[in-house]
Symmetry: C2
Subunit: 371 residues, 2 copies
């Protein structure tokens, strides 16, 4: 069996009106709008609204949406108790996975508290969950998560740092737009397979968080950071990466299953990374990252994907490495939710066949006679 | 696009050596052994061992396996705290979903505590979690889950009822064998898509529990119970089901995506159901179920699947309806784990394509100019 079949690569598994990825090998559109326009001119809240409600909001709609999100940031008491019980050593992705699952018991889906309401609540609450757990275990502080920040990016930065640097705010807001949606990627496809048995709305989101936590998916930005951090200067980076390539090591943050020539999101991450490096007076990390990009192109004709420069962006924004993938969750929740709603609206149980390669029919031998 | 593509029906999504489902439209084999032999002559622990370790155990291997499982039944303290926080109104499937996810933080996967160790722990702990939560919220009791029961079926019955009726023990043990594995069904396929990004072992199990909780999958036995419970006698059942068919209502517990002529598991569930009815002196539920089976065959040529008579079995064993699908989890954990290990051993990211049916390229209009 070919690797393509094992990975369902190039195999159509359904219909969607949410997103196109990799048309001409290099573009990305959310409901018809190019990521370039959205990231240049929009905000994450506009993008989330577009994904969920299928149109760009008017000013009035956007104001109402942001007002609902801002009112939804306080953690329920029992969720606080659970977050305090989850140990400091937990991976923060597992904290969000558990936080989402238990929220399903505290605030179950009903006709009133429907998928839209749950999605809006999760968009507000994931940053609150993450930062509450983080400060409780790492700083011994019980923070109040009901901030008056104007949007989700600011809400997160306010909770994490206590202040919102304007360039950090712009960077996180843009990054959330870049990460918001990406077609039938592994976590979204997991969410759709799960949603197709018609469980509650929390089941597919919880499943998707677990899928995103893997190093072959969301975890890639953490690995990109590890790579870039290895080198003290561009010369070491060039030599080191060439050696890794010679040793056939996998270099995370390059290439993509669907994009063939270019990841359009990487341009934004790279520019933000450079702006943040300038602001901080960084003379190491950004040049090292650029040199690695150059080596990967010269040696392998591989381009950076969104995860590579995003690692620099998040680091320059003062975000601890283990919180990188949770930021991906904040964003992708909008995309997952749109796909769950789309799956529910035209549902069919997803149950493929498998090619059996095990033993033929065997006779059952009583336990006393087994060798 | 055809419904088949949307559901990946008849589309091969990978290889497996674990199971064949529906060869000749009606058979089921676990690693080459027919479910008929296994359910007649084996035990759930033998089946779980076979699925995990790829061979039927010798007496010594089975004894050691059961000893490890029996030693693993006590809940960690923090998990007890979380179970107490999850409200009485939670669906028990959501309790297991959250319990599995948080256990990943309390007992993370490591080289020593690997997938096999985690699977054995979950096989022991899921009945403990469920019964602890249930008794705490419904009876106000904090039970000790470290029983000395000889196997998982007895462990569960001991925790739930305080005693182990021999026929109930046989029924639950057989039922766990029937539910242990079923190829690329929706929950198992979810687990494989999730596992393919290489997250921790708890992520795909948590995802699978969420998927199984849907009424189109594991939740079907609860719906079958609701149907059978509607009728006080066979005449009402016949008239009622005919009316539902005339009204185009979906009747749960009949037919199957893969079996075309017969679900071999249903035979065992039906016989057990009859034996339990005799033991209890039931003169209503079993005859009603049989009549519904007859009507569905006469009217629609549909056969009962495993869920239909299992609903009777569980009810006759004194199991509350909301605990039916959690029993499916106890069993299927063995199959899910085998598939996660198989996926990891020959991994490829699972990322299908989608057929885009949304709008073409749209111009971004500034928010002030939106209608």
């Amino acid at each position: 069996m070919s690797d393509n079949i094992k990975g369902l690569q190039g195999i159509t598994a359904g219909q969607t009106a949410i997103c196109t990825v990799g048309e001409d090998g290099k573009s990305l559109h959310y409901r018809g709008y190019s990521i370039t326009d959205l990231a240049n001119k929009g905000s994450f809240e506009e993008v989330a609204y577009l994904l969920l409600y299928k149109k760009l909001p008017t000013q009035q709609e956007l104001d109402a949406f942001k007002k609902r999100l801002a009112a939804d940031r306080a953690l329920p008491k029992h969720l606080i108790n659970v977050l305090e019980l989850l140990p400091k050593e937990s991976h923060p992705m597992d904290v969000l996975r558990s936080g989402c699952s238990v929220l399903g018991s505290f605030e179950p889906e009903t006709d009133e508290h429907d998928g839209y309401a749950i999605t809006e609540r999760l968009l507000s609450l994931f940053p609150s969950m993450l930062c509450y757990w983080y400060h409780y275990h790492f700083d011994g502080k019980k923070i109040n998560t009901q901030t008056d920040a104007p949007d989700i990016a600011a809400h997160f930065l306010q909770l994490l740092h206590g202040v919102v640097d304007p360039l950090h705010h712009k960077a996180i807001n843009t990054s959330l737009m870049l990460y918001a949606e990406h077609g039938f990627n592994a976590s979204t496809f997991t969410a759709r397979v799960c949603a197709a048995t018609l469980p509650d709305f929390y089941a597919p989101i919880t499943a998707a968080i677990g899928t995103l936590s893997g190093p072959l998916h969301g975890g890639a930005n953490e690995h990109a950071y590890d790579l870039i951090s290895l080198y003290a200067n561009t010369k070491d980076a060039e030599e080191g990466v060439k050696q890794k390539l010679a040793d056939k090591e996998k270099i995370m943050g390059f290439g993509h299953r669907v994009y063939k020539t270019h990841d359009p999101r990487s341009d934004f991450a790279k520019i933000l990374s450079q702006q943040l490096a300038d602001e901080r007076g960084d003379a190491t990390m950004y040049p090292v990252a650029e040199r690695i990009e150059q080596v990967m192109w010269d040696e392998k004709k591989l381009f950076p994907n969104v995860d590579f420069y995003t690692a620099c962006v998040y680091h320059f924004c003062g975000i601890p490495k283990t919180l990188f993938t949770p930021l991906f969750v904040f964003a992708r929740t909008a995309g997952w939710a749109a796909h769950i709603m789309e799956q529910r609206a035209d549902n069919r149980l997803i149950r493929p066949d498998a090619d059996y390669i095990g033993p033929g029919a065997l006779d059952y031998v009583g336990i006393a006679d087994r060798g």
